[in-house]
Symmetry: C2
């Protein structure tokens, strides 16, 4: 199709929307290492995982062979409420930069949760409901995942118990109120509702909480209440599977218009967005059908891929979850307090870690002041106020487009715009006031954190 015919925004028809998720592990010759039971140091069995996670999700977590997994009709119906998400040609940004590059982005912020998290939240809630459970428990930091899960549970009539890191609960009340509007039970963590919470409160009565503690409370609550399981919004392979809907829609739309990306860029925290975005493209590369450059972008203040080690580690600071082999900074790592957005997880998805280790994907880290500068630049011409997380990808997309300007290359650059920044205006305010600062952990700090890694041969 001629260049002139490509619209600003490409929306698939409902009939073109994916009916199956894509499981990139099926095309990986060397698979990600298995989850390990910290007590036995043996691979986690389905039965062991089933005490914490829903049955069907355990199957998906362990499924390394089926290339495609059917999306249940009920989930397809829910997807239709806010999907397909648009694939946008960034004509205005290209013009502003004066680049010969063609820039595209897939925008996942057009739903009340404001991010891509909803793609997996509805799937996880659906399987919990199908299993006859009463509800699910989870943790949330800033609240994107909790918001998405609340929406999904409200839709399905499932109880939703969210442990929200106390300082976020108090200082960022907006997402808390969104969750409550969707009927979720939101508890500041640590709380007196769990044994682990009471223990921490007794020892540190003035603590502001941490994600690790919130995970521990959510897992305890899931395993001690009848009819509950724990759900998680990133990192796990099942989450990347559900998020493949982003990449599949993108690829379908691109194929329809004859667009072939040279570079595919996504921000990376736990890896769910990036994994979902790149998976069908990566699949082509793994099968030798096509070639792409993949770039994971992470914050310089939490650089798991670029400065971490590839080793077995705890998935949570509370050390209640299975061990996973991944690029990690150590489960004791906490990003500096001046780190504004998400992407603060100490580790990385096992799938992405393995692909990165095999040299199939690049990674770069960027500092937050330049990320907000890119965000502002993007917002002013493209009319979307991006989430700080998504803006990491914007920053690198702009960098790559400016390289094309120098070389004159007409590369096609594609990035994932995971969400909106409506609930991050304090951070934007700090940037507007010139009060944003950067932080890069020292080698000594990282080494100290690596010392918290468990010994697994």
């Amino acid at each position: 199709m001629s260049e002139e015919k490509i619209p600003y925004k490409i929306y698939l028809e409902e009939s073109e929307m994916p009916k199956q998720w894509y499981n990139v592990r099926a095309d990986m010759k060397k698979k990600p290492a298995p989850l390990i039971n910290p007590a036995t140091l043996k691979p986690m069995t389905a039965e062991e995982l089933g005490a914490v996670f829903c049955e069907e999700l355990v199957k998906q977590e362990l499924n390394e062979t089926d290339r495609f997994i059917d999306i249940p009709q009920e989930i397809q119906d829910f997807y239709k409420m806010y999907r397909p998400s648009p694939l946008v040609r960034a004509y205005c940004l290209e013009k502003k930069l004066g680049t010969p590059a063609k820039i595209y982005y897939k925008f996942e912020g057009n739903n009340t949760s404001g991010s891509h998290k909803l793609n997996s939240a509805i799937a996880q809630a659906y399987y919990a409901k199908k299993q006859g459970l009463r509800g699910v428990t989870t943790e949330t930091g800033a609240g994107q995942w909790g918001t998405a899960l609340s929406m999904a549970c409200s839709y399905l009539g499932l109880d939703c118990q969210v442990y929200m890191v106390k300082c976020s609960y108090e200082q960022k009340p907006f997402r808390r109120e969104v969750m409550r509007t969707y009927g979720a039970n939101v508890t500041p963590s640590p709380s007196a509702t769990t044994e682990v919470g009471r223990k921490i409160l007794a020892e540190f009565p003035d603590t502001n909480g941490s994600l690790g503690c919130a995970i521990s409370e959510a897992v305890e609550k899931a395993t001690t209440q009848d009819g509950y399981r724990y759900v998680l919004g990133s990192v796990l392979s099942q989450v990347l599977l559900h998020q493949s809907v982003i990449g599949i829609e993108s690829k379908t739309a691109m194929d329809k218009y004859g667009i072939k990306p040279d570079i595919i860029i996504g921000c990376a925290g736990g890896g769910s967005n990036l994994g979902g975005l790149i998976s069908p493209f990566m699949g082509e590369m793994l099968r030798g059908e096509n070639n792409y450059r993949f770039i994971a972008v992470e914050p310089a203040s939490c650089p798991s891929l670029t400065r971490g080690v590839y080793a077995y580690d705890f998935c949570d600071t509370g050390k209640v979850c299975p061990l996973q082999k991944m690029y990690t900074l150590g489960s004791g790592f906490m990003p500096s307090a001046n780190h504004a957005g998400g992407l603060r997880y100490h580790g990385m998805s096992a799938i992405l870690s393995e692909l990165y280790d095999q040299g199939l994907m690049e990674a770069v880290s960027v500092e937050q002041t330049e990320v907000f500068k890119a965000a502002e630049q993007f917002a002013r011409v493209e009319g979307i106020l991006p989430a700080p997380e998504s803006s990491h990808a914007i920053k690198v997309a702009i960098d790559e487009a400016l390289k094309c300007k120098e070389t004159g290359e007409e590369k096609t650059i594609f990035f994932g715009l995971t969400g909106t920044g409506y609930f991050d205006m304090y951070a934007y305010g700090a940037y507007n006031d010139g009060k944003m600062s950067d932080y890069i952990p020292t080698d000594e700090e990282l080494q100290k954190s690596f010392n918290t890694l468990p010994e697994v041969k």
Copy 2:
């Protein structure tokens, strides 16, 4: 087209998007009364209006004869960045209500400003730029209009000076930061930057400000700085003209799928959304080609159509703007402090006032607690967190759908969903905490306010 074929969301192709705005006044036999100069009590001339407003916008304001006005290509290009907006079939809400009615809504919240205001903001900014102006001034309350205008001005490289009611500036910092991110100059009003501001501050040093005072400051700033004009986000006929893009897109999509609404519902503050939504449908009715029921929904705490008088009044509490004949509560009217959302304007668009007076449109008022109840109900099944303003329309759409449930009628109900409630979470929080209250002004209060009406024969 068969019922089964109607998708959840209908997006027009770019080629189907409107290339002209529709001017409903051209089809009105009895036109709205002219704007009047408060000094001379004669109709405002183009020259007089040109001191405050941009030339091309003055022409549009006074144009009662051209049915269609071309949308400049630059504005069409900007529209493509966030339009077409989806026409959504509310399958989930229908199912939840158990109604045989078919419910559709046009969702205008899919852009960073979060509302339909951007449709007119880009048009007004474009004509200001085309006139060679340096910038525009405006006022904003909660900030929807100011946000939209900031985005439009940033895109066009135009200076944007926003006077924001002081209490909103301080208590609702998020929209302020969005405006600043888009490069706008945001000043809490009253301020020391204008004569009228200094005068008010001298008299009431502790005032929280008011919309009327902010308008006065913005108009003073526009008329005393070289290369500036004042722009307004609602009420004016030019704004309804720009907002007709909502109705035209809706009608094109409905015609394409053979959908014919029986009832069309919109919330009404100054009338820009409602006027834009209904105009092409109203045009058909005015030309005798079709019949529809139109319902304007306003807050019981600010009931200009349902309890106001149809008379000439000041458009602003500062009394610096022309007089307009409209349904009004008197320019001295202030909605009770417990009123949460927008829709707090004392008057109503002249076009809508005239249509209402001719019996072509109905109006109802609703109380805010039931509005938030409808908002919550909608959010939980439709997955969009609606703005409090939009939720007035949702409330009445649900009421009408429930009437259909009783009678068994399969009516087609269509309403405008003007925006999202992301920046209204304090109000949602009050509702979630059971702390929301209602207020209906007494007849005595209204009478007192009517006494502020100017004497115009």
